[in-house]
């Protein structure tokens, strides 16, 4: 029983909404697992991720992350997770390194210093190392305003991993990236996963990204409609074909 994420009967109804956006879903994710959370637009993926990452309140249900009850130990949960949001959440007025430094000091990794030159050696090393891994070593002191979409994504991932989270939530992390950037981002993420045994919780519309997941969970209109290892769900077909079949069937049913 090494579940790092446990979700039991999670319900979310937005204010002024007539129906539940998430309607009593339950699932669990093992430590070190690569978990893909799939579903059409509006299925409740981002809602679920927002609740799991403590930025949205739930209507009902029980959630435990990294051994902590989300209702009681919010702060501990926050310390254990890293989040790459659907929309880039970098400060465009700062440089890339300043964004990283902001995150590192906010998470208490290093004491706050107003200038890079005053930061401890250890921090500088870490930043250089991470920047090299994602190929940003020449741009790390440049303002975010000069960054392309792919560079921003990579920087966010670097930032999200600064505090060595046990679970990394990725909400459509490669949307808008060119194939090469996507490939780079993924090889970096898989590396981290192997090295640190980080659990990855992914939502994506690129189904080939989910082919290598340990488990796939498909939701539609707030309900889980399929769960299992990718080959159990897709059989001989590709995951994408199987996914389309499941979703089409759901639409026909309702």
């Amino acid at each position: 029983m090494n579940s790092i994420i446990e979700v039991l009967n999670l319900v979310k109804r937005y204010k002024k909404a007539a129906e539940n956006a998430v309607d009593g879903i339950s699932f669990s994710v093992e430590e070190g697992e690569f978990f893909a959370f799939l579903g059409p637009n509006g299925a409740g993926k981002t809602t679920t991720i927002s609740i799991l990452t403590t930025t949205l309140s739930k209507t009902a249900g029980f959630i435990k992350i990294a051994g902590f009850n989300l209702d009681k130990n919010e702060k501990e949960v926050r310390q254990k997770i890293g989040v790459i949001f659907q929309n880039p959440s970098l400060d465009k007025n700062l440089t890339a390194e300043e964004n990283i430094r902001f995150h590192a000091s906010l998470y208490g990794l290093y004491p706050f210093r107003p200038f890079y030159s005053l930061m401890p050696f250890e921090y500088k090393n870490r930043v250089r190392e991470l920047a090299e891994v994602v190929g940003l070593e020449n741009d790390i002191f440049k303002p975010i305003a000069s960054y392309s979409g792919g560079m921003k994504r990579k920087l966010e991932i670097v930032r999200g991993l600064m505090h060595n989270p046990r679970v990394l939530f990725l909400d459509e992390p490669t949307t808008g990236l060119d194939p090469l950037s996507r490939k780079n981002v993924w090889s970096y993420l898989q590396n981290i996963r192997k090295k640190e045994n980080t659990t990855i919780f992914l939502t994506t519309h690129y189904l080939e990204e989910a082919e290598s997941a340990d488990h796939v969970c498909i939701i539609d209109r707030g309900h889980i409609v399929a769960y299992g290892a990718p080959h159990d769900i897709s059989g001989e077909k590709s995951l994408e074909e199987a996914y389309l079949e499941i979703i089409t069937k759901e639409y026909a049913r309702v």
Binding site: T53, N87, D91, N93, F102
Partner: protein, 259 residues
């Protein structure tokens, strides 16, 4: 320690942003110039003589408080901007207390308004407002208090509004009446009863009065230019700050999460 670190981190981000935003620094200086120089100057030459104290100095001290109050109140509103360009997500998933996040923001905006201190003081000197070193020190302390109060007031307003657009529409209505009610341009004692009551409700009133206490301490004009005792001002400013900070944070966070 962790929380303190986070507060500094958040506060310094605002200062960094200000130092890169030259037009905003300039705008911060233009405002007092208009109010003290033009409005204060013209009122002073018309009605100043009959009051028994120097009207320009009176307006200067009022605007001094108002600038700090207004600058941080307006600055805290950048939290809405942060939300609209999704940076607030990064803030709110961080493992620090929500109060620290909001307080860091207020501190940051206070640092931002302090950048304007020097400019305003120099401008006062040019106009011939007399200063001693002690007065400058007291003015800075009182100005910072006004700034903290303004920031917390901003959070309170913010916690009830959701978009930058509504903010831009509503904010002038909660701020500008205060400028005229708080005695920036006229002593409070001659206010008619309704206005006098409203002026007692306006938080800025106590910040203005506090700054006047700082400037006029020990001078014979003190009783003419202040409406409340020094202790009253300090207690009320402190109480309002704490109420706005804690209630504002709770309301703001609840609105963010309970969607």
């Amino acid at each position: 320690m962790r929380e303190f670190n986070a507060i500094l981190t958040i506060a310094f981000r605002d200062l960094t942003k200000l130092l890169r935003d030259k037009p905003r620094i300039l705008a911060g200086l233009v405002f007092p110039v208009i109010f003290i120089g033009i409005l204060g100057g013209s009122l002073s030459s018309n009605i100043g003589k009959s009051l028994g104290f120097d009207f320009l100095t009176f307006v200067f001290t009022g605007v001094f408080a108002q600038v700090f109050f207004q600058s941080s109140a307006a600055g805290v509103i950048s939290l809405i901007q942060d939300r609209e360009n999704d940076f607030s997500q990064e803030l709110f998933v961080a493992p620090v207390s929500r109060h620290s996040i909001i307080f860091g923001k207020i501190l940051g905006e206070t640092l931002v308004s302090s950048v304007q201190i020097a400019g305003i003081l120099i401008f006062g000197l040019i106009l011939g407002v007399p200063f001693s070193a002690k007065i400058v020190f007291l003015l800075i302390v009182a100005g910072l208090s006004a700034s903290f109060l303004g920031g917390a007031f901003g959070v309170m307003v913010l916690s009830n509004l959701s978009t930058q657009r509504t903010m831009a529409q509503i904010f002038p209505f909660v701020l500008f009446p205060q400028i005229f009610l708080s005695g920036v341009f006229a002593p409070l004692e001659n206010f008619p009863p309704t206005l006098a009551l409203l002026s007692k409700i306006a938080p800025l009133t106590y910040a203005v009065d506090l700054v006047r206490h700082a400037y006029y301490a020990g001078s014979p004009e003190l009783s003419k230019v202040t409406a409340f005792g020094l202790t009253t001002d300090i207690l009320i400013v402190l109480a309002l700050f704490l109420v706005f900070l804690f209630a504002g944070t709770i309301l703001f966070v609840r609105k963010e999460r309970n969607r």
